[in-house]
């Protein structure tokens, strides 16, 4: 296709680099420097989509971030992306795009029937219907859902990667239009660390939309180039183009998204696709410009109806004629500027319809001088044209501008350029908690007082003349640098100078009057994307949805992907007009991040796949891997769950491991247990306060089990603590609780008992810990521990000793979680693997068997030992566990003690730890199963409690279970039922929780 609407010269495009692209299956050509929108317009394509609700044909409205209509599906396959604004997609060779929300095709769309039915589909119609029969909503919903939505979500795994980074600067300048460039120059010259962020691919902002502007006597384009060169030469200035400042957070924290490789349209190599900048700026200058407002009149949404300034931009920046014959409809000077530039580009300007009675101002004077036809005091009251505007209807207004007199002439055209004034982009300002203020003269909201270290300048501050923008930007940059604490080095030159062009004077008119009774003319759209019309607003107000927030939610105005950038202020104006209130009384809806939508992937950054969360591994991990261990996640740790041999099921493997530990020798990697080194002369007193039992008398070299409660009296953690020296202890915690326990202890130490001489250091990772357990544990250790005396007299159960194992300096504790003779050997972490290998080699003669967490759980359950987090769930006291023996009656206080005497803590029907034996010894109760008395005939049924642990015990040759049962200790011998999810009921009998070796002879021998 030829680019038949391309101007022969001018613009910021490279005619030499022609780029092929495809839209809706047709091939076109564009140029480097085009957006998809400008390239489509260069090829005469206006119709690019269908509207959300009524499926009306829609074209390109704008040339920027505010675009509500030209939303397209970009890319194919795994790289597809819905709802991209054609006005911001940089064209690349081979780009593929298609229109959305139409079926079977853009030209012929079945959904357009909604437009015919639109009378029955006013705002909120679904609240009033689809209610009968009640069970049918799911069917209606299916239809509603499929009608809604815009593009299609990607269906394949995203092949690209994303990045994020923190960043700091003295001065952040957002927006690189005239104002932002001036600010960056001023700040940069002071030597400050400056970041200049611009969402566009080029610097210059709306300077590219204009024609003939000069700055400091040079054409604007030269000034932009010079500014860029100067900024790039400054060491501490960073220019980020294609970078959207999307959110302004507390404490001058700004989030930006840089599109690093999107515009290349292919594989990004080592570069990320996009990058999130998490930026803390000492000072911020907002120079985000302004967005032009549409006018609200009947059928103002046809393809070919565009914002006037966008028409200028297409002509001047992209060298594209958006039409052949244009009508301009305006209430301010901007329309005339557009008309002048279009005329200069060879577009026939049929008329400038001006709402103002007596258009005046520099641009309208020039238009008149240029011989353009101006129709004053008039309005466009309707348009015609099926898939593109082809005619507009004009009417004269009464003197007040409140009524259209009889319809006047009709004008043929293929382009209608409209301007309803300007809205400063105060989104970021408002996100910074700044309150906006309505300026009646400018007819728009402007920033009020700053809430953070921020200043707005230029068009986003309601300053529209170029010279004023430059001066304000320059001053803001200078002051920001100063306020950031930079001592200015070089004397900065004066602010750049230029001519002012303003859009004022203007005549405000929120709803353009029509010749028909209110609501009877064609649809006058306020929010193009969500198909919200003036009538919808009126309906909402009529029905009592009076707050602007209710109006928003009832009609969905401003809730589309454009977040009402073009529509919101018109909606507020119209609501004010209907309610007879002042605009400031109506107020604005809340500005929220992001300014324009940002990709999810950028928030994940590189923290995906394996890097989502650290996987902690012990020094022995590589051995486990080689041995084919199956791992389970415990907190962040990877722990061997069981070690299957070839052909073994989990069940078989676990049984083998359990048997080995009881019958001969098992070995386990216990490195993950939390370990806290505690030093200081008050350490014993400290332990007294944090554990339920007494610590003063523990001898050096001995170990003691402890239970730790939270202040509500609930079990929080347990573990063995050893006394290594007079004022030196080593505490162990459960794997998952190591960090929370240390934090809990530090908190009490620092905030409640700062007078105690105690220091704690985590040494979890300092040691590799290997447990050997079983009747042959001592023999194995004896063989490797040199001449260490391992007799029970010298190293009894619950004692600890330094020594050497396999030549490695080791701390050996004789403690047991399995009920077997067992040693925990702690060695420097770097020696863990060597120790393990030495034990495996020497233990071969005993059939040494590595066992995992599952076998450990079975072994301890046989002994009735609890696991915090399995028997307990944050609602269990030591008394509930039957562990009164460990709760000191003598100590005056410890954390949680006072809570244990509250009325509900001493009730006898609290859940208590018991054992359960199924009547059928082969039956293994599922963990979590609840127990009831008798049969279940209906629900809800009173439950007595639940199974906390349950296993097949190969040593006992039957199943065993632990459970928390209401008043359990008084129920010994009672028969209970466990009704299961599969309909089966398992009968069992309540017993004590210790199933094996209750006297502990195996440990103590």
């Amino acid at each position: 296709m030829t680019q038949s609407f391309r101007l022969p010269e001018g613009g910021l495009i490279d005619r030499g680099r022609r780029l092929g692209f495809r839209f809706d299956g047709r091939d076109y050509m564009g140029c480097a420097g085009d957006t998809l929108a400008s390239a489509l317009l260069a090829n005469g394509v206006h119709l690019v989509g269908r509207s959300y609700k009524y499926h009306r044909p829609r074209g390109i409205l704008s040339a920027g971030a505010e675009e509500p209509n030209a939303l397209i599906q970009l890319g194919e396959g795994a790289r597809v992306e819905p709802n991209q604004r054609a006005t911001q997609i940089e064209l690349f060779d081979g780009l593929r795009a298609s229109s959305q929300n139409r079926w079977p095709s853009l030209n012929f769309d079945i959904g357009a029937v909604n437009n015919r039915l639109s009378r029955f589909l006013p705002a909120g119609f679904y609240y009033k219907t689809f209610m009968w029969p009640a069970s049918f909503w799911m069917k209606y919903e299916y239809i509603v859902r499929h009608a809604a939505g815009l593009g299609e979500a990607p269906r394949e795994r995203d092949p690209d990667h994303y990045d994020k980074t923190f960043a700091y600067c003295d001065v952040l300048v957002v927006g690189a239009g005239a104002t932002g460039l001036a600010a960056a120059l001023a700040a940069g010259r002071s030597g400050a660390r400056v970041i200049l962020a611009e969402q566009d691919s080029v610097l210059g902002g709306s300077l590219w939309s204009g024609s003939g502007e000069t700055i400091d006597g040079e054409p604007a384009s030269d000034w932009i180039a010079a500014a860029r060169t100067e900024l790039e030469a400054m060491e501490e200035v960073t220019i980020l183009t294609r970078t959207l400042a999307y959110g302004y957070f507390d404490h001058n924290f700004m989030a930006l998204v840089e599109r690093v490789t999107d515009h290349l349209g292919g594989e990004a190599g080592a570069l990320p696709r996009q990058r999130l900048w998490k930026l803390r700026a000492k000072q911020v200058v907002l120079a985000t410009g302004a967005i032009e407002r549409p006018l609200v009149f009947a059928d103002n949404d046809r393809p070919g109806i565009m914002l006037a300034d966008a028409c200028r931009t297409y002509v001047n920046r992209y060298a594209v004629r958006p039409g052949k014959r244009a009508v301009v409809f305006t209430n301010n000077e901007s329309g005339h500027l557009a008309a002048l530039d279009m005329a200069a580009a060879g577009i026939e300007v049929a008329a400038i319809v001006d709402l103002r009675e007596d258009p005046m101002g520099p641009a309208s004077e020039r238009a008149e001088a240029a011989g353009l036809r101006v129709v004053p005091g008039s309005a466009v009251i309707g348009t015609r044209g099926d898939r593109r505007v082809r005619q507009v209807q004009i009417a004269r207004l009464n003197a007040e501008g409140t009524q259209a007199l009889a319809a006047g002439e009709t004008l043929d055209c293929d382009l209608l350029a409209m301007s309803g004034g300007w809205n400063p982009s105060l989104h970021l300002f408002s996100q910074s908690r700044g309150k906006v203020r309505f300026d009646a003269g400018l007819g728009c909201f402007v920033p009020g007082a700053s809430a953070q270290a921020e200043r707005s300048a230029g068009a986003c501050n309601g300053t529209f003349g170029l010279n004023d923008c430059l001066a304000q930007g320059f001053a803001a940059g200078q002051q920001a640098a100063k306020d950031s604490g930079v001592k200015s080095g070089r004397k900065s030159a004066a602010a750049p100078r230029a001519q002012n062009h303003d859009f004022l004077p203007a005549r405000w008119c929120w709803e353009v009057p029509s010749d028909k009774p209110a609501g009877r003319a064609g649809k006058a759209f306020v929010d193009f994307q969500n198909d919200v019309t003036v009538n919808d607003l009126k309906l909402a107000l009529r029905e009592g949805y009076e707050s602007i927030e209710h109006v928003k939610r009832y009609t969905a105005t401003g809730m589309g992907t454009d977040q009402g950038k073009t529509g919101n202020v018109n909606a507020i104006g119209i609501v004010a007009q209907i309610q007879g209130r002042e605009i400031p009384d109506v107020g604005v809806t809340t500005f929220r991040p992001p300014y324009t939508p940002v990709t999810f992937g950028v928030f994940a950054g590189r923290d995906v796949d394996g890097l989502l969360d650290p996987a902690r591994k012990t020094p022995i991990h590589p051995w486990h891997e080689q041995a084919g261990a199956v791992f389970e996640d415990v907190g962040q740790w990877k722990r061997p769950w069981y070690f299957p041999k070839a052909g073994e099921t989990m069940h078989q493997a676990v049984n083998r491991e359990v048997k080995a530990a009881r019958d001969s020798l098992g070995i386990m990697d216990a490195t993950t247990l939390g370990k806290i080194d505690i030093q200081g002369k008050d350490a014993a007193e400290f332990l007294n306060r944090v554990y339920t039992n007494a610590w003063a008398k523990l001898a050096v070299g001995r170990c003691r089990y402890g239970l730790m409660l939270n202040e509500a009296g609930m079990v929080m953690d347990d573990g063995v603590t050893s006394r290594l020296g007079d004022a030196h202890y080593l505490m162990t915690t459960t794997t998952g609780n190591a960090a929370p326990v240390l934090a809990h202890l530090e908190e009490y130490l620092q905030t409640e008992w700062p007078d105690l001489d105690v220091h704690m250091t985590s040494v979890t990772d300092q040691f590799a810990t290997v447990t050997i357990a079983g009747p042959n544990a001592r023999a194995l250790l004896a063989e490797l521990a040199g001449d260490m005396d391992l007799s029970s007299e010298s190293l009894p159960h619950m004692s600890i000793r330094d020594g050497r194992v396999a030549g490695i300096e080791a701390r050996i504790a004789r403690i047991s979680f399995t009920g077997e003779m067992s040693y925990e050997i702690n060695v420097p972490a770097s020696c863990g693997l060597a120790l393990w290998q030495a034990l495996m080699t020497a233990g071969a003669k005993y059939g040494i068997t590595p066992y995992g967490t599952e076998a450990m759980h079975v072994l301890r359950a046989e002994k009735g030992f609890i696991i915090v987090g399995q028997e307990t769930d944050g609602s269990v006291t030591p008394i509930d566990l039957g562990m009164d023996w460990i709760v000191s009656k003598k100590k005056k206080d410890f954390i949680g003690k006072r809570s244990l005497t509250r009325p509900d803590m001493i009730k006898t029907d609290r859940k208590q730890l018991v054992g359960l034996l199924t009547d059928d010894p082969k039956e293994v109760l599922p963990e979590g199963a609840h127990l009831v008395e008798g049969a279940v005939s209906q629900t809800p049924v009173p439950m007595l409690g639940h199974v906390t642990s349950s296993y097949e015990s190969p040593n006992l040759g039957r199943s065993i279970a632990l459970a928390m049962i209401k008043g359990g200790r008084a129920r010994m011998g009672q028969s209970l039922q466990a009704p299961l999810a599969n309909g089966k009921t398992v009968a069992c009998t309540v017993t004590g929780p210790v199933f094996l070796d209750p006297e502990g002879t195996r440990l103590n021998d």
């Binding site: 996987a615 990772d765 300092q766 020696c831």
Partner: protein, 211 residues
């Protein structure tokens, strides 16, 4: 003590010794594991001159008093960790440095309310250097690492992506004019930290080795 060759540094299983990096000539980031080092945690009354003097007498240099600074002499460097806490490190590659420093300090400071804990084995040390070392770290580290804000000799406990780290700007990298940081991480997080850094540096070109 056990033969050194039997001891496994935290990243030994990644086989970094076998990786060269020669082919990555334009690399602007260099990663290296420092396999063995001493790292001793010292707590003491930072405001007590007697304690400070005792340390100085024992070590030949003063404990850094100012937040985020370090100081050293002889074979060790002291890094400020908190108002009453320091790390005394020795990064010359001696596997027995930790116990030795700890023993030395314990004896020299026996008269003071101190806690000395050798945690050398519980840390891994990754050196990151090169023109883009700062940019790489900055991706995951919330501190301002700009040369104006983070100067040679400075140290800080902070976060790196999803772990806690201690970073120390040593300047001891392969190219003296380029920044070099020692990043200390908890041993079981070492693999994660290494892979994360390698991935973060990929766009700049990265070499990996055992130092």
């Amino acid at each position: 003590m056990i033969e050194k060759y039997l001891r496994q540094s935290p990243l030994a299983h990644l086989g970094l010794g076998g990786q060269t990096g020669d082919d990555a000539a334009p690399a602007r980031v260099h990663l290296a594991e420092r396999p063995f080092f001493g790292f001793v945690n010292l707590r003491g009354p930072g405001a007590d001159p007697a304690f400070l003097d005792a340390f100085k007498a024992a070590s030949g240099y003063a404990l850094p008093a100012e937040a985020g600074t370090s100081g050293g002499g002889g074979n060790t460097t002291a890094l400020w960790l908190g108002p009453r806490e320091w790390a005394i490190v020795d990064t010359r590659g001696d596997p027995d440095a930790g116990p030795r420093i700890a023993e030395h300090l314990r004896t020299a400071l026996a008269d003071h309310q101190v806690a000395v804990t050798d945690i050398s084995e519980s840390r891994a040390c990754i050196q990151i250097s090169g023109a883009k070392a700062r940019a790489t770290l900055q991706k995951g580290c919330p501190l301002d690492l700009h040369p104006r804000a983070f100067r040679p000799g400075q140290c800080a406990q902070t976060r790196l992506a999803k772990t806690t780290v201690l970073i120390h700007l040593t300047g001891g990298g392969p190219a003296p004019e380029e920044p070099a940081f020692d990043v200390y991480t908890v041993r079981s997080f070492a693999e994660y930290t290494w892979l994360w850094l390698e991935d973060a540096a990929r766009e700049y070109g990265v070499t990996a080795r055992l130092s």
